[in-house]
């Protein structure tokens, strides 16, 4: 074992640290034109007139685009393959705008400055329509989401999921305590430091090339094809380096516009959103209101649980129709609940659309469930760690919804080891003091998925080939979002080939050169792509050994790959560079291997987080002062990058608990948190010192035992922090984020 369990630095780290890495907005492309958008200032209105004359009169303006001169095809920006059936309700420039920030028009000009100036000169007349901002009110706007001719109605609910399991009535009848809670989670924003950007360039052969910091080049191809009415083969997409995504760049937003403008003007076009546009005109996390009723036995066992979740998905469906079932899928993986009823509804409102955001429903549902569980623990006078320990699933558990085996599920170990490291036993219940400053501690458990199995397309193809310089080239549509997936996956490939991670040359994701892949989503990179790459590596190693065996006149079984060399048992051998040269000199093709891997399982990743907070009763301000995160990752391919994922997940989670909310005004539909000066994040001074514990018990179905960590890192955080605040104050705060106003109001 050479490359595994090692703190290998990012393979692209030096380029990032020297400023040499070119992100999309940094690229130099000859003849590049710049686009700027006009966004709706009304939450729901018919665009009755657009006067473009003043804009078109500006020197350097090439064209103004609006609903009158652009395709009106309906599309869904969350699809991930061409032809996918999905509720198509979005248009490039709708005649009826559905949220503040919806797209009204765009100017394309010689420079961004000219385009933005001209965009401000466009006059738009709106005819206001009734707007709905409250998801409970939205439920009353009821009907089928599509007419017979497939036009969207924007009636609710968009989607729903109901699940009933076990004898609910008997469970509640036997309960010693029944606890009912209502928890609300906010609309939070991804806040990747790179704003949204895209470049499209018409190619000489009539195709369009799209350069996009995306999570799946194939998803971009599919969405652009649907929006423009173009065949996918007319569209080539290449992934550019990405300055953070967290799901925010999963859905192509600018790509259809750029592609259309570039084709029309026969010039390359870039659109680069500013921060305000990235807040108001991209995606957010859906907000969820959850009602939970749970019956407990006298020993703390959950006997029955009933959940109703109302999901506000905003103005367009995107992937919001999956949220009720996604939340259910995640909910049933954590505790052994003998009787369960779940009902989830997703509704449209006239607010910015929701979309993918690290965990896809999981942070919402686990925040709701873990805060509820903690309230129950306090009401029954039971230690929250003990209550969780009594109910957590263990290895080999089968979840009741899809009947999936949860694999080597080590949530109990996370809880036990985390509690010990945190010193839980000595700290819990010492929170409630007197005076202005109160300290409290909180805990939350969580689980998440590993990939999309049993959904379709949960497979990928990886190709590895020996290069003349003795290194290996990897082709597998990979989209590193900055988390270090390229490094981790290079370590996996290198491990199988006796190379170092830096010897693996990754070909950037490109629809023309890579086989289809779902992209970076659903915590599938290490678990799914990693396994495909491991298999391709094993296969390539075998063919290298066979080729070397012929060269060395040695049985291939006597050879092994080590430190860039094919070694014999007697230690003689041949370097991969020499082997490649010898094969090449004889005109023999260099060894190559391609493996497709279709997932056979979807085990759970598990975690337990522990937070200490200090609350100022006078101002209502909360500071997280200590943090322990214990994670069941199967096996850490790169512990440093695993820790990095967990640290970053905690930052997003602390914000979710305490600060982050785009705060859509219920009277006007305007977003109040629409810039970094009005949307607060946990920065360096607000972040606590963090200790990470890795539980490495191995997942038999994962590559070298590895499981996912990317999304789960943020899932338990908010509940752990809120539970700590409730412990400190003796409150039952359930409305997130815990702003100073809410904290002060709760103290009374």
């Amino acid at each position: 074992m050479n490359q595994l369990s090692r703190r290998v630095p990012l393979v692209d780290g030096v380029a990032k640290l020297t400023g040499a890495l070119r992100f999309t907005a940094d690229l130099h492309i000859d003849g590049l034109l710049h686009g700027a958008l006009v966004l709706s200032t009304h939450p729901h209105a018919r665009v009755v007139r657009i006067d473009t004359a003043a804009a078109l009169a500006i020197e350097g303006v090439h064209e103004v685009f609006w609903h009158g001169n652009t395709p009106s095809h309906h599309y869904n920006s969350s699809i991930w393959f061409s032809g996918q059936k999905a509720l198509a309700d979005e248009q490039m420039f709708p005649q009826i705008v559905r949220h503040v920030g919806d797209r009204v028009a765009a100017v394309v000009a010689d420079t961004e400055e000219i385009a933005r100036h001209a965009a401000r000169l466009i006059e738009v007349d709106y005819l206001d329509l009734p707007a709905i901002f409250d998801p409970e009110v939205a439920l009353g706007h009821a009907g089928l989401p599509l007419r017979d001719d497939d036009t969207p109605t924007f009636l609710n609910p968009v989607a729903g999921e109901t699940f009933v399991y076990g004898d609910l009535e008997a469970g509640f009848a036997a309960a010693d305590l029944i606890v009912e809670t209502r928890v609300t989670t906010p609309r939070s924003h991804h806040c990747a430091v790179e704003t949204h950007a895209c470049i499209a360039r018409p190619e000489p052969d009539g195709r369009i090339l799209i350069l996009s910091p995306c999570q799946s080049v194939f998803a971009v191809q599919a969405v652009v094809g649907q929006a423009l009415g173009l065949a996918p083969e007319k569209i080539r997409v290449q992934k550019t380096p990405i300055g953070g995504s967290f799901g925010g760049k999963a859905e192509p937003i600018l790509d259809p516009l750029c592609a259309f403008f570039a084709l029309q003007l026969r010039r390359p076009v870039i659109i680069r959103f500013d921060r305000h546009e990235t807040f108001t005109a991209t995606r957010t996390r859906s907000s969820v209101t959850g009602w939970m009723r749970t019956g407990f036995g006298v020993d703390g066992r959950i006997l029955a649980r009933e959940t109703y979740a109302l999901v506000d998905i905003g103005a367009y469906c995107t992937g919001g129709n999956y949220l009720p079932s996604s939340m259910l899928q995640r909910l049933v993986r954590l505790y052994d609940v003998p009787a369960e009823r779940y009902s989830g509804r997703a509704v449209y409102t006239n607010t910015v659309p929701a979309g993918a955001f690290r965990g896809y429903g999981s942070p919402q549902i686990h925040t709701i469930a873990e805060i509820s569980l903690d309230i129950a623990a306090r009401r029954m006078g039971m230690d929250p760690v003990a209550l969780r320990q009594r109910n957590l699933v263990g290895p080999g558990a089968i979840e009741p919804w899809q009947g999936l085996d949860l694999g080597n599920a080590r949530g109990r170990e996370c809880l036990a080891r985390g509690a010990e490291a945190f010193g839980w036993a000595g700290r819990y219940q010492k929170g409630v003091g007197r005076g202005r400053w109160r300290r409290g501690v909180g805990v939350a458990s969580a689980t998440h998925i590993n990939g999309c199995y049993p959904g379709f397309h949960e497979e990928t193809t990886a190709s590895l080939r020996l290069l003349p310089n003795g290194r290996a080239e990897l082709v597998c549509a990979l989209h590193d979002l900055g988390c270090g997936a390229d490094t981790t996956l290079s370590q996996i490939a290198a491990e199988t080939l006796g190379l170092r991670a830096c010897d693996i040359v990754i070909v950037p994701a490109d629809t023309d050169t890579c086989p289809y892949d779902l992209g970076t989503r659903a915590s599938r990179m290490t678990y799914i792509c990693g396994e495909a790459i491991r298999r391709a590596g094993v296969a390539l190693a075998k063919s290298i050994r066979a080729a070397a065996g012929l060269e060395l006149n040695t049985p291939a079984d006597d050879l092994c790959l080590e430190a860039g060399t094919v070694r014999c048992r007697d230690d003689a051998g041949i370097t991969l560079t020499d082997l490649a040269a010898r094969l090449d000199s004889r005109g023999v093709e260099l060894p190559t291997a391609t493996e497709s891997y279709r997932a056979q399982a979807n085990p759970g990743s598990y975690a337990a987080h522990f937070a200490e907070v200090e609350v100022d009763r006078l101002t209502g301000r909360v500071k997280v002062t200590d943090y322990v995160a214990a994670h069941d990752v199967g096996w850490a391919i790169n512990p440093m990058l695993v820790e990095g994922q967990i640290h970053g997940g905690i930052q997003i989670g602390i914000g979710y608990a305490l600060y982050e909310d785009v705060a859509i005004d219920r009277a006007t539909g305007r977003m109040r948190g629409d810039s970094f000066s009005r949307y607060t994040l946990a920065n360096a001074p607000e972040m606590p010192p963090i200790r990470v514990l890795l539980v490495e018990e191995g997942e038999p179905t994962g590559p070298f035992g590895a499981k996912a960590v990317g999304e789960i890192a943020t899932i338990p955080v908010a509940a752990a922090v809120v539970n700590a605040v409730n412990n400190a104050l003796g409150t039952e705060l359930t409305e997130l984020p815990l702003s100073p106003e809410r904290v002060v109001a709760a103290i009374g």
Binding site: V193, E194, E643
Partner: protein
Amino acid sequence: MRISLEVNGQAAETEVSAVSRLSGFLRDVLGLTGVKEGCCEGECGACTVLLDGRPVNSCLVMTFQAAGCEVTTVEGLGRSSGLQDAFLQMGAVQCGYCTPGILMAVEGLLRDKSSPSEAEIRHALAGNICRCTGFEAIVQAVATHAAARQGSY
């Protein structure tokens, strides 16, 4: 108007408009795209550069205000101090978009204070948003590097 300034050790004389931001000038005119723009309102710190040795948000500096000044961007930071290597080895870089600004903020801190406390490091980074790392590895890398840098003097 015509101004002269020094950027990464090179003298530059240039015609600038009165509304040109330093971040835009560095990126678009000089091609120093290591300077990132994340908000253009001085909140995210991605555009941080050193102006006469002090870290500033270059999006909030008009280019003419830099007349006669020395500007240092990540491209001019040099790797000899080992700061970037500390970030690399300790996992303090993930997506890399905020990294140039953070490096410049740290460089500004360390020129002012050779052995900052953890609280001082966190305070110096208060104007830089990082959405990937939770700042944990960054703070550790800065502390480790500061100790090494001091030892080498």
